[in-house]
């Protein structure tokens, strides 16, 4: 491997390559957002991956799935296989542990991660990932986008950093009982949601930037939580206004004692 390979990212710090290569990173969901993230992680130099997706490439994915070709839709290539090929094509000595299932069906490999990217498409799914990341001490970076409104489509999205000991997605006003309840009420009637490539790219890049900063601290901001809100119509990514008036400075939703395998206390 030539020393030139990472020469353009030397501003990240002297030991950046080593710091990045030692990190085990999890990516849950290898669709439009996750495939972007995988490509960027591999380009930057991440070597250790834990991946989850039980889906295959379909025709309707080809407008946004990074790395997918028309032949993959015909062949119904598993998205996990696509991700592995992307990684190995850039990092031939990478370690990739992939599960072609929901992460909840094989949760143990995820617990070795230091950073987990959640690219899932439900509030409940995000909540469950965050709970696991708090239990097993992992930084959780949530990524999501949505298009709503028929007359005037509005593209929105978010990148959220939720870290053990820090503010959670509830604290930051993203996960609410109302949203979870509305989602539960809509169960089974959601249907395919609008998705396009460029918001996924913006959000994935922002998320990967957060992860690199967590490892290298190159910005010296020491950011322990983040809620970045994407407005696709205005083409902006800004700190969410919900952070301005946070009711809590410490998280009341995840007590420090709630870590490790659950211990069921007989009553």
């Amino acid at each position: 491997m030539s020393a030139d390979r990472y020469s353009r990212q030397s501003f990240l710090g002297r030991n950046a390559e080593e710091l990045i290569s030692r990190c085990t990173v999890g990516v849950v969901g290898l669709g439009g957002g996750g495939s972007h993230i995988i490509q960027q992680l591999a380009l930057i130099g991440f070597q250790r991956y834990v991946l989850y997706d039980d889906d295959v490439v379909e025709e309707s994915n080809l407008n946004r799935l990074v790395g997918a070709k028309s032949a993959d839709a015909l062949a119904q290539t598993p998205k996990l296989q696509l991700a592995k090929m992307m990684i190995y094509g850039l990092q031939s000595t990478a370690t990739v542990r992939g599960s072609a299932c929901r992460w909840q069906e094989n949760p143990e490999p995820l617990r070795e991660c230091q950073i987990v990217f959640g690219c899932v498409d439900s509030y409940q799914g995000r909540h469950e990932l965050e709970v696991a990341c708090r239990r097993y001490l992992m930084h959780y970076i949530d990524v999501g986008m949505d298009v709503h409104g028929k007359e005037t489509p509005v593209i929105g999205g978010q990148v959220i950093l939720s870290s053990p000991g820090g503010l959670c997605m509830r604290c930051m006003g993203f996960l609410t009982d109302e949203r979870l309840a509305q989602e539960a009420a809509r169960y089974g009637s959601a249907g395919p949601r609008p998705q396009v490539v460029w918001p996924n790219g913006v959000l994935a890049s922002t998320a990967v930037g957060l992860a690199v900063d967590l490892l290298t601290n190159w910005t010296r901001r020491g950011r322990a939580h983040a809620y970045l809100s994407y407005d696709g119509n205005q083409a902006t990514v800004k700190e969410s206004i919900t952070l301005r008036n946070l009711p809590a400075r410490t998280c009341p939703h995840f007590p420090e004692s709630d870590i490790g395998d659950p211990v069921l206390v007989e009553l």
Binding site: R134, A181, D258, P262
Partner: protein
């Protein structure tokens, strides 16, 4: 969540073991080998009672497996992950004023045997 002892003793009559497990600021009650109403298949499975509001329901009973019962139910939770296990639940809203835990459980189990 604090529960008086007699409520817990009452609850124990419906299962072989009763355990508490905290997660995300909520204390869930784990009912090992919960006995289900007549007509249910299986007759017994593990249950997880969430006695506080969640997902738009005032309380919720999760089960370890989907159960067939006299009335077809809308199983709108097929894979909730709580306390590092996967759970299912059907849509059944229980609205009682200050119920004991046992009354709450019975009201949820009635979802198997009441038409609506």
């Amino acid at each position: 969540m604090e529960s008086p002892e007699h409520q817990l003793e009452e609850l124990k009559r419906y299962c072989t073991k009763l355990k508490a497990v905290p997660e995300g600021g909520v204390t869930y009650l784990y009912l090992e080998q919960l006995r289900l109403p007549a007509g249910c298949t299986p007759a017994v499975c593990d249950g997880l009672l969430c006695p506080v509001a969640r997902d738009g329901y005032p309380s919720r009973l999760f089960l370890s497996v989907q159960v067939s019962s006299p009335y077809t139910r809308n199983w709108n939770v097929s894979n909730a992950r709580i306390a590092e296990k996967n759970w299912v639940a059907f849509s059944w809203k229980v609205e009682l004023k200050d119920p004991t835990l046992a009354r709450l459980l019975i009201a949820h189990l009635n979802g198997f045997t009441k038409e609506k």
